[in-house]
Symmetry: C2
Subunit: 116 residues, 2 copies
């Protein structure tokens, strides 16, 4: 038993929800490519209003996917990689799972699936 089984559906859904927006994916990729914190550079990069980007950052911070450290007058954002691990675990488990015929109630016959 790995740690995945102790993670609730709610926790996994919350992680997914926090990243379930194009702007937030963009921010995450930006932080990934820069390897670290960027200030209001994020706003100009994302191309939405400052208040909107701030709201997306608030959501990511609330989910603890990014952290913000105050410089002045800027804020320094970083990815919190550990927070994403439970979702990564689930997806890895899905990707690596092999379907055995015994477990399957549908077997492929030619190009269609037939249920036993």
């Amino acid at each position: 038993m790995n740690n995945l089984n102790s993670v609730t559906n709610e926790q996994l859904a919350a992680i997914a929800k926090a990243i379930a927006h194009p702007a937030r994916i963009q921010i995450i990729r930006l932080l990934l490519s820069k390897s670290s914190c960027i200030g209001g550079e994020i706003t100009s990069e994302v191309g939405l209003a400052q208040s909107t980007v701030s709201e997306h950052l608030r959501i990511l911070k609330a989910a603890e996917i990014v952290t913000g450290e105050i410089e002045h007058p800027r804020v320094c954002y970083s990815l919190n990689r550990e927070k994403l691990l439970p979702l990564l675990d689930l997806l890895q488990q899905i990707a690596s799972s092999q379907v055995t015929n015994d477990d399957v109630c549908c077997v492929s016959a030619s190009d269609t699936l037939m249920c036993k």
Copy 2:
């Protein structure tokens, strides 16, 4: 360059959004544990109204994360593992990324982050 870079923010967000609900995570885990399709068994397992579960299944099918094959009078659901790979790729890239000091504008000094 891996295939991740050719995936848009919108596509990644759409995958995350499709799984960003506790009931849908539960369905995915159920399909993973059974390795294959279950009919209306999903409804009783999830504990929501039949129409609600049907809607969640519709969302998962629309995102091509599950497929439904009609038996009768049941429907046979299966996970489409490939569809989740782009998000898995992103999360793996994040998890495996190492922060080098050159890329970082914030360096940790004792227990706080200081920006250069």
